[in-house]
C-alpha cells in the first residue's frame, strides 16, 4: 500500500511539473505582462523599468529555471500587479470560493445520490422519468446559461435575491444553486445507472432468497456495490472544490479563486496563475489519490489486486 501511494505521489509530481511548464511557456508566448499590466500607453521607460524589475529581459529558459529553483525552495513568486506574495493573493480567495463550492458539493451529493437511487428503485415509473428529465436538463444546460437564467428569474424578475456580488450570505444562494443543480444532475445519472447495474446482479436475488426484506437488500447489498462507481464522480467533484467554479464565479461576480484566475490570465500575472494552477493540480491529484485509497476500502477485489498476493481458495 505504501509503495502504491509513493508511486502515485511521484506520478502526481510529474503531472504538476508538466502543468506548470505548459502554463509558463504558453502564457509567456501569448502576451507581454509589462504591456498588459501597465497598458500599452505607458511610457517606454516605465515598461523598461518594469521588465528590469521582474527579470523579463532574461531569456525565457532562464526565467523558467529561475522559477523552478524558487519553487523548489517554496517560493511561489510575487504578483506583478501589486508585488504581493502570489500565494497570499491566491490563498485569501480560497475561503471565498469554498463558501460556495462546499455547500454546492453537499447539495450535489445529497440530492444527486438520492435522486439517482430513487430513480433506480422506481425504474420505469413516472418518478424515474421525472428525475431523469430533470437530470438531463441539468446535465445539458451549461452552467453560465443556468446561472443567467436563475439570475433573470430570482434577481431580476422576482427580486428575491441579489444578482451579483458577495456582500451577504444571500449573494451566495444563486451561485450555490447553479453549481449544485448541475452537479446533482450528473451524479443522479451515475448513481441511477450504478444502482441498476447492481440490482441486476445475482447476489441481490441471493439476499432476497436468504430472507432479507427488499429494503435490507438495497441498503446492505446494493448500496455498498453501487458506491464504487459513484465514488469516482464524487471524487472528481471534491477535486474541483477549489477551481470548479470559474464560470459561475464570473457570472455572479463572486470574488473567489476562479475569478482571480480569469483576471490573472488576462493580465499575464504569471506567478498568480502558476500559484492557482499548482493549487488546482494538487487538490485534483490528492482527491484522486484519496478516492483510490477509499476504493480499496470499499472494494476488496481492488485491495487484493493491488496489495500483492491473493490468498488461494480450494
Amino acid at each position: 500500500m505504501l509503495g502504491y501511494i509513493a508511486s502515485r505521489a511521484f506520478r502526481a509530481l510529474v503531472t504538476i511539473l508538466l502543468v506548470l511548464t505548459f502554463a509558463f511557456f504558453i502564457l509567456n508566448a501569448t502576451g507581454d505582462p509589462a504591456i498588459l499590466i501597465l497598458s500599452a500607453d505607458a511610457p517606454p521607460e516605465a515598461i523598461a523599468a518594469f521588465r528590469e524589475e521582474w527579470g523579463l529581459n532574461a531569456p525565457l529558459w532562464k526565467q523558467y529555471l529561475g522559477y523552478l529553483w524558487n519553487l523548489a525552495h517554496g517560493e511561489l513568486g510575487r504578483s506583478m500587479r501589486d508585488g504581493r506574495d502570489a500565494w497570499a493573493v491566491v490563498s485569501e480567495r480560497i475561503p471565498v470560493t469554498l463558501a460556495i463550492t462546499i455547500p454546492a458539493l453537499i447539495i450535489k451529493l445529497v440530492i444527486g445520490i438520492s435522486a439517482g437511487i430513487i430513480a433506480a428503485l422506481w425504474r420505469d415509473t413516472w418518478i424515474d422519468r421525472l428525475v431523469m428529465a430533470f437530470s438531463v436538463t441539468g446535465y445539458t444546460v451549461p452552467s453560465f446559461v443556468l446561472g443567467l437564467g436563475l439570475m433573470l428569474v430570482f434577481a431580476v424578475q422576482l427580486g428575491w435575491l441579489p444578482a451579483a456580488g458577495a456582500d451577504s450570505w444571500r449573494h451566495a444562494i444563486l451561485p450555490i444553486v447553479t453549481l449544485g443543480v448541475a452537479g446533482a444532475a450528473v451524479l443522479a445519472r451515475f448513481t441511477r445507472s450504478a444502482m441498476l447495474e447492481v440490482l441486476g446482479q445475482p447476489f441481490i436475488r441471493t439476499g432476497l432468497a436468504k430472507g432479507l426484506v427488499w429494503r435490507a437488500v438495497v441498503i446492505g447489498h446494493a448500496f455498498p456495490n453501487a458506491a464504487i462507481p459513484t465514488l469516482t464522480i464524487a471524487g472528481f467533484m471534491i477535486g474541483s472544490l477549489v477551481a470548479g467554479a470559474v464560470v459561475v464565479e464570473s457570472v455572479f461576480a463572486w470574488p473567489g479563486v476562479g475569478r482571480l484566475l480569469v483576471s490573472a490570465v488576462g493580465n499575464r500575472d504569471l506567478m498568480v496563475v502558476q500559484a492557482i494552477l499548482l493549487l488546482v493540480t494538487v487538490t485534483m491529484v490528492s482527491a484522486n489519490l484519496i478516492v483510490d485509497i477509499v476504493y480499496g476500502f470499499v472494494d476488496p477485489r481492488l485491495r487484493t489486486a493491488r496489495g500483492g498476493l491473493a490468498r488461494g481458495g480450494t
Partner: protein
C-alpha cells in the same frame, strides 16, 4: 396423514414481452413431501427455475403469477413481498447456478452467512459468527477459521457454492431448492457438491428440490423426478421407475441421449429439432413436432398430466393404456 410440505397447484407465469404476455409456465402442479428429494429436469427455458422463483416470489415484479402455492397446507401467494421474506431462508432456502456472482463481492463470506443466522435465529453478532464458522465446517470447507474472513473472489467456485449452501442451512430450512447448483463448476467439483447436498439432507431431514438440465446428476441424489418441457411437467415418477421405464417420449429421448458409463457401448441419440419458442407454441402437445411417436391427435389437443400408475404421472396420449387413441390411429 399430514399435509405435504409444499404444494404448487396450477401455477402459471406470464412475462410481458413487447406489449404481449408470453406464458412461461402453463399450470404446473407439484407436491413436495417432507424430507423428500425431488429432481426437476428439463432443457433451458423449460420453466424449471421459473417455477421455483415464482413460488418464492423472486421473479421480477412485472411477471404475472397465478395459481396456488401451499406451504404446510396454507396458501402463501397472498403474502406481501416482505412477509414472503419470512418464508424465504427460514422455510424455503435457495441456491443458484453461479455461486461466485451469487455472493456479494464486497462482504466477507462469514458476514454473509452470519447475516442469515442473525436474521432467522436471532443470534447476536458474536454468536452468529461462531455459528457461521460452524456452518463452514459443516459444509467441509478446510480451515474454516481462516476462510471465514475471505471474500468470494478469493475462493474457488466450488468453495463459494459450499458457502452458499452454508448460507442456505443458516435458517434451518424445511426445503432447499438448488437451481443448477453444479452447472458452473468443474466436473470433479460437481460430484463433491452433490454429495454435500445429499449429506446435508440426510443430516437435517430437509426436503430438496434439485433443478438440473442433466438427468444423470438428478438420478444420484433424488427419490423422485419431474421432467419439464416448454413450461409443463410432462412426466413425474420415482427415479428408478423413470430410468427403467420412461413413459413420455421426451423422457425416453433424454435417457437415450445420456451416456451410460457401466453399460454396453451404444450410439447416443439426440432429440431432433429445438425447444419451441414460448411465444409460439404448437397448438397441441408442445413436444409433438419433435416426437417420434406423435400421432394425429397430438397436434390438436394438449395431453393432461394424468396418473398412469401408482405415484406416476405422464402427459402423453401414447402413454395411456393402449386403448382409445393408439387404436384409433
Amino acid at each position: 396423514m399430514t399435509s405435504p410440505l409444499v404444494e404448487l397447484k396450477d401455477l402459471t407465469v406470464d412475462f410481458p414481452v413487447g406489449g404481449n404476455w408470453v406464458r412461461a409456465l402453463h399450470g404446473v402442479s407439484l407436491t413436495i413431501r417432507r424430507g423428500e428429494a425431488l429432481g426437476l429436469v428439463g432443457e433451458s427455458g423449460s420453466g424449471k427455475s421459473v417455477t421455483w422463483l415464482a413460488a418464492t416470489k423472486l421473479l421480477p415484479a412485472k411477471a404475472r403469477i397465478a395459481g396456488e402455492v401451499l406451504l404446510d397446507g396454507r396458501p402463501i401467494q397472498g403474502l406481501t413481498r416482505d412477509q414472503m421474506a419470512g418464508v424465504r431462508g427460514k422455510r424455503v432456502a435457495l441456491i443458484f447456478q453461479d455461486p461466485t456472482s451469487s455472493l456479494n463481492p464486497v462482504h466477507r463470506v462469514g458476514t454473509q452467512i452470519a447475516e442469515a443466522v442473525r436474521l432467522h435465529r436471532g443470534f447476536d453478532a458474536a454468536a452468529a459468527r461462531a455459528e457461521a464458522r460452524r456452518l463452514l465446517d459443516r459444509v467441509h470447507i478446510p480451515s474454516a477459521a481462516r476462510r471465514i474472513d475471505d471474500y468470494p473472489h478469493e475462493l474457488s467456485g466450488g468453495t463459494n457454492q459450499r458457502v452458499m449452501i452454508a448460507v442456505a442451512l443458516a435458517g434451518e430450512p424445511d426445503l432447499l431448492v438448488a437451481d443448477e447448483p453444479t452447472t458452473a463448476l468443474d466436473v470433479t467439483i460437481q460430484a463433491q457438491i452433490l454429495d454435500l447436498l445429499a449429506e446435508m439432507r440426510r443430516e437435517t431431514g430437509m426436503a430438496l428440490v434439485l433443478i438440473s438440465h442433466d438427468l444423470g446428476i438428478v438420478a444420484d441424489i433424488t427419490d423422485r423426478v419431474a421432467v419439464m418441457y416448454a413450461g409443463r411437467i410432462v412426466e413425474e415418477a420415482p427415479v428408478d421407475a423413470l430410468f427403467d421405464d420412461p413413459r413420455h417420449p421426451y423422457t425416453q429421448g433424454l435417457l437415450a441421449a445420456l451416456p451410460d458409463v457401466g453399460g454396453p457401448r451404444r450410439r447416443l441419440t439426440a432429440i431432433h429439432g429445438q425447444v419451441p419458442n414460448p411465444a409460439a407454441l404448437p397448438p397441441g402437445c408442445s413436444f409433438a413436432p419433435r416426437c417420434p411417436a406423435a400421432i394425429a391427435g397430438c397436434v390438436t389437443a394438449i395431453p393432461s398430466l394424468d396418473a398412469v400408475a401408482a405415484d406416476r404421472r405422464t402427459a402423453c396420449f401414447r402413454a395411456r393404456p393402449a386403448t382409445s387413441l393408439e387404436i384409433a390411429a
